[in-house]
Symmetry: C2
Subunit: 366 residues, 2 copies
Amino acid sequence: MATELDVLIANNTLKAKAFLDEIEGKKPLFICTIATTETGKIPGLSAAGANPDFTDFTPPADAELLLLGKCKSIQGVPITPDGIPTPGLITTSALHLADIPVLVVNGGVKVKPQIPFVDLGGNSGRDIRTGDSVDNVEEVIERAKVLGEQMAKASDYLVIGESIPGGTTTALGVLSALGVNAEGKVSSTLLQNPHSLKGEVVREGLTAAGEKFGSLKNNPIKAVSCVGDPMMPALAGLVIGGARQVPVLMAGGTQMTAVLAVINGLEPKALCNVAVGTTRWVTKDKSSDICGIVKQFCEVPVLAADLNFSNSRFPGLQIYETGLVKEGVGAGGASIVAMAKLGGAVTKDLLLKEIERNYALLMGLK
Amino acid sequence: MATELDVLIANNTLKAKAFLDEIEGKKPLFICTIATTETGKIPGLSAAGANPDFTDFTPPADAELLLLGKCKSIQGVPITPDGIPTPGLITTSALHLADIPVLVVNGGVKVKPQIPFVDLGGNSGRDIRTGDSVDNVEEVIERAKVLGEQMAKASDYLVIGESIPGGTTTALGVLSALGVNAEGKVSSTLLQNPHSLKGEVVREGLTAAGEKFGSLKNNPIKAVSCVGDPMMPALAGLVIGGARQVPVLMAGGTQMTAVLAVINGLEPKALCNVAVGTTRWVTKDKSSDICGIVKQFCEVPVLAADLNFSNSRFPGLQIYETGLVKEGVGAGGASIVAMAKLGGAVTKDLLLKEIERNYALLMGLK
């Protein structure tokens, strides 16, 4: 690689470097996949919204932020119960700096965003404790493949992020159903990762579905239908369709490992053209283990944007360094590709300046 | 221009050549905008469907044909009452030959296509004789602008077609409301252009809306709301958003002149970056006058793919030479950009071969 980017490599170094080499200077399309579930409303599970009921508004508002630079479905921007702003702020800043186009894809949301979005025929997800959480999985995957193929023709490569509250719990659900040991390894928006609550919810879901750890190893579609979420079929299909022609960066944290596992069960060769792009806050997180999940079933490289907000002039951004939020809306992946597109002209410092500028603007600060 | 393409220039020769020069060898994105209306079901008005009620299925089926190479919402492909296949067959063949990506945008349809499509918050249109035919016009335009801007970042240029039965009648409606003399000048899928019926329907619509010829000259949004169709705000917004950054080819016949008039009223400078691309069957048509409409309010060039099916081995395709169908689903524009992308490697003869191949395949012929 010609330039040194502010990107950390978390595993599979050679593959990671090859992936970065391949995308450097190229023009990506950023796709944000949105979805909501009743799982995300289980108290104590997610901080992706000021309160559980508010999680229905977080994904549409994130999508609006990406396309309009402001939200329409809510006032201000999505925040955690502590008032910490959405990582969509990072994504928006990165994409704007590098002039990267955005397409919003609806995996299944309760509240439709007030912007153009691609519909795949999916619905919002039920609580996974029902054991029957997602409708129409196979059809959504098929439609997403078609979209991924078309968008791959229109771009040098794809970067695909997500906004779905409660997504690490459904990730644990699907990984467990597929026989991947992820308990205690998925990440969290919260400071105290509620691993035991997530484990309980997943076990309840598997039991309700008449399944157990690993029993759906050969049926990823059923795994998503029973204990997954509607982001998964959309994202998996997009990756499979896109990776047939171009590199695909899956922009997210441990949620992406569940999507990887689904792809691995459906079309494993797609993974040869795939990397995960996340943040340093995820790869350095002591309460989760993204690489420990990935290595159980594939050799996909994990890259991390070397974001550091310690020296931000805003306490609301500094707090990311404590481990709150960590990732979401493809923040890490968007940062990586903004840097890769402009080959070093976008550094982590420049990116922080742009994030601070947008933060001040959106929070009404100076 | 380096190569001689099978493209005819119908007006504004210098601008037309400059546009062709600009797009030659470049990579476009093809956007198909679909919509349906009750206007399209008025007996005798449209042949875009085996019978009036069937027109609800024509646009979704056309969109499926473009993305999947076959329809899902109907058996076979959309046909006229005489059994002539949809011009979407031409579009599909052209885009496939030149490997051009497709995005489907829903302006407002009653029957949703079973493929990925972009939603803009629009609804299917009412009969324009109500004088209140389209909901949500301003919002759909705004959302379409956002999409057009994003897709312009992802492509060298945009080609935007339509599938909407009855669209020349609503075109006449909007042109009339805007004070453009189009009576007797809009095209038709039928051999006998039902000009007097179209004129009656439009007059009834204008009267019901409390408007008359030219009375909405300064209010294109109201003109569309009263006597237009849901394809128009979607397409106008896409063009305005896209043309800010890249050339835009509006792929269609006289329907596009109504969209041009709307854009001319909203953001006239967008028209500097725009051309209309249609078929020879439209520009040579004696029962309509696309250039005669355009020249009343702008200098946008009109290009025509020099398609000629006289020597086709299939009577169902030869019949296009009698003046049936003529255009639709961006057939002319798609043919032009397939030729322009591959600079002469795609000729009208090669294109006809591919159309015949697909025709035989889809109609179960040999």
